[in-house]
């Protein structure tokens, strides 16, 4: 059994225009083994972010069929906080801002919740300082409110800071590379790559093959219209880069699944 195993997953979301539930995942199958890196690509609206949010347990999506098994546990029965405490992490593409809640308070409570024990202020400061230095985040961030007035790049740094602090087993990056300048991209993805060595699994959602330079994916999947329509090795990503999604999908011998 794989570390994460998604079977025939179907899901709907409430569509405000039609005022109806709209099918958004139409039977997703994906296996992720411990210590492997997967990249999920696909056009806008193909269901990549939806899949990421459903893995984390977003309440807006209704799972209508299929299963997700995470280390032998039924993930779909777990609340988001429970999933997080069991080692799942989603780096948000658009993390919300929370007025009045200081970054330091949030990070400490997040770390304590994940570890299941209180951390002394001094110890936490020392730990945090190390992580922040690595990511070139100034100390002044700690007193700011979560994502309030943060630039796109600052938000991404904060997401990676949380990733480092919580040290999860399975990391999902939802377009963490988009909106970053090249220096920031390099800094964050080198850091992530260093972190995931040693048994961590990674699911990277991205439009760009450039992230391959840092994370060396074992598998690449293409999503279209709520399904994974093609899976392959890193060469698949490169062919998307040169030929575009449609021809990469057309070349597919449908149903090839890697990583089982």
């Amino acid at each position: 059994m794989a570390f994460l195993s998604i079977r025939d997953l179907t899901a709907t979301v409430y569509d405000t225009t039609s005022e109806k539930e709209k099918e958004i995942l139409k039977g997703v199958n994906l296996d992720i083994q411990g210590g492997t890196t997967h990249v999920l690509m696909g056009t806008n609206g193909s269901g990549k972010s939806t899949l990421a949010h459903i893995l984390m347990g977003h309440p807006s999506y209704k799972v209508t069929g299929g299963s997700i098994d995470f280390e032998g546990q039924d993930l779909l029965r777990m609340a988001p906080d429970d999933r997080a405490r069991n080692g799942l992490f989603l780096a948000f593409q658009y993390p919300p801002s929370i007025p009045g809640l200081p970054v330091a308070t949030f990070l400490k409570r997040a770390a304590e919740s994940s570890r299941g024990s209180e951390i002394s202020v001094r110890e936490f400061q020392r730990e945090l300082r190390g992580h922040m230095k690595e990511l070139q985040i100034p100390q002044s961030f700690l007193g700011r409110f979560i994502n309030e007035g943060f630039s796109g790049g600052e938000k991404k740094r904060m997401e990676v800071l949380q990733l480092n602090l919580l040290d999860p087993k399975l990391v999902i990056l939802d377009e963490t590379d988009s909106g970053l300048d090249i220096d920031a991209l390099k800094l964050l993805f080198k850091n992530i790559a260093a972190r995931i060595r040693g048994g961590r699994s990674l699911l990277v959602i991205s439009h760009y093959e450039r992230v391959f330079d840092y994370i060396n994916p074992d598998f690449v999947h293409i999503m279209k219209d709520g399904e994974i329509v093609r899976s392959g090795g890193p060469e698949l990503g490169r062919s998307i880069h040169s030929e575009g999604f449609e021809s990469a999908i057309a070349e597919a011998s449908a149903g090839v699944m890697y990583g089982k």
Partner: protein, 475 residues
């Protein structure tokens, strides 16, 4: 998720009864009688050995109270439920006031011990006062301040010991005919604080008064007068709680603040009355040249609160600031707001109002910003944010802006109504934070602007209070 949220939030203040709602014996009521008439007023005044002018003032106020109609601008049903004849207007649990907690009779001291009042005083107050029913039972101020000429007394002693100073200011900002409840207070007033800070004296550590109603159907008519003389500064904090009863109790205060030239005066309220208390308070301040007045107004409890702290900016360069939070739970009505009158040029003001409503609770912002003719170069900003936690609760804003001067006057008003963001909840939970704590963090963030203005210990207490009461709410 929404159902759970509602459940967590309904726990806020749900253990009020354990923490604050306990009762001490009420034997002292044997010597009190219910209802308000001339005889009761004469009795109160006589007990206090007041000068004749004060008795006249009270009796006149009683006449006004009987003639004046209820406020017309709010729902009548608030007043329909009041039975004035069933209230105690004066009760004293002890005939003495003490300045050492060890001397305070046990059954009263126990109450304040449970509320943490002596402990707070030891840790971070320059002076403290504790009122039990109608009288201040404990009063103490650091010697340091006495030497500097600071006067901090219960208001009855203030009248006795500093009659001339007292009379110069008393009832000049809130006259008895201002409104029905000002009249009621003026007739029956007892207890409260009298504070005078001499010119240039800065009191860096807060002074506190704690108001406790103990008996059912009790009316507490606190009266507070604070004068900050030229260049002085002071921060006064009041806290309030009461036991939980089925019948109404009454808290009707009149607070008058005088900030003379260049002074700084802050008045902080943490009102956590039980849900059978009607809290109808008149709070008014006047700020002289370059003076600053700040009202920090926290309304967590009470069945109905009607309170609109006001500042008249009478001197050039004066500044006024009001930050309030209101928390309206089931059956509660928080009608709070602010009034700022710009009566001089180069004055500025800001009002921030944050309300949380749930379980059918109702909160309103009712405010006035007035710029008088001749008050040029004025800025004022009003920000009202309401958080509604379900579909049965309600929030309203009733802002009035009245500008009678055109020259460089900037007045802004912004209002928002929102719910707990599902995205924010999901975000916090996705980091391993349990649902009830995520909710608590968001609610706390919402009132941060208020909490950050409190002395550290109070902010922690407010925080602890909410967290404590939300604990264990996940089923």
């Amino acid at each position: 998720m929404e159902n759970n949220q509602r459940e967590h939030l309904s726990r806020i203040n749900s253990d009020y009864e354990d923490l604050y709602g306990f009762k001490a014996p009420t034997d002292y009521l044997n010597s009190s009688k219910k209802g308000l008439d001339e005889q009761v007023i004469r009795h109160i005044s006589g007990m206090k050995k007041e000068p004749a002018w004060m008795l006249d003032f009270r009796l006149n106020a009683l006449r006004i109270f009987r003639e004046i109609p209820d406020p017309q601008w709010i729902d009548r049903d608030i007043f329909d439920s009041i039975d004035y004849n069933s209230l105690y207007y004066y009760a004293a649990a002890t005939d003495k006031q003490f300045d050492d907690w060890d001397d305070v009779p046990d059954h009263i001291k126990e109450t304040f011990d449970k509320l943490g009042v002596p402990e707070a005083e030891k840790k971070f107050l320059a002076g403290a006062s504790a009122q039990f029913e109608s009288e201040v039972v404990y009063h103490h101020m650091q010697e340091e301040l006495q030497k500097q000429g600071v006067i901090f007394l219960d208001i009855d002693s203030g009248l006795r010991e500093h009659e001339e100073l007292f009379r110069r200011y008393f009832a000049t900002l809130v006259p008895p005919d201002d409104n029905k409840f000002a009249a009621l207070n003026s007739a029956a007033w007892s207890g409260g604080s009298f504070i005078y800070i001499p010119p240039g004296v800065k009191v860096d550590i807060p002074l506190q008064a704690y108001f406790r109603i103990n008996a059912e159907s009790m009316g507490q008519f606190e009266r507070t007068l604070i004068i900050a003389d030229k260049g002085a500064s002071v921060h006064y904090i009041e806290g309030c709680t009461a036991p939980v009863y089925t019948r109404q109790s009454f808290h009707t205060g009149v607070i008058e603040l005088f900030a003379n030239e260049g002074s700084y005066l802050r008045y902080t309220t943490i009102q956590n009355w039980s849900n059978n208390v009607l809290n109808l308070v008149s709070q008014r301040a006047v700020a002289g040249k370059d003076a600053v007045v700040e009202w920090m107004d926290g309304n967590l409890g009470a069945r109905t609160t009607m309170k609109y702290p006001s500042v008249a900016l009478n001197g050039t360069g004066a500044r006024g600031r009001v930050i309030s939070i209101g928390y309206a739970n089931q059956g509660q009505r928080q009608d709070a707001g602010a009034k700022i009158i710009h009566a001089a040029p180069h004055t500025s003001s800001s009002i921030t109002s944050k309300s949380i409503s749930h379980n059918g609770g109702r909160s309103s912002y009712r405010g006035l910003v007035k710029v008088s003719p001749g008050a040029h170069d004025v800025t004022s900003s009003v920000q009202c944010d309401a958080l509604l936690l379900d579909n049965v609760s309600r929030s309203d804003t009733y802002p009035t802006i009245d500008v009678e001067e055109n020259s460089r006057v900037q007045v802004s008003h912004e209002a928002s109504v929102g719910k707990i963001s599902e995205e924010s909840m999901f975000y916090l939970m996705s980091r391993g934070i349990p649902e009830e704590e995520a909710l608590f963090l968001i609610v706390n963030g919402f009132i941060e602007e208020f909490a950050k203005e409190l002395p550290m210990e109070y902010a922690v207490e407010l925080n602890r209070l909410i967290q404590l009461e939300m604990e264990g709410a996940v089923g």
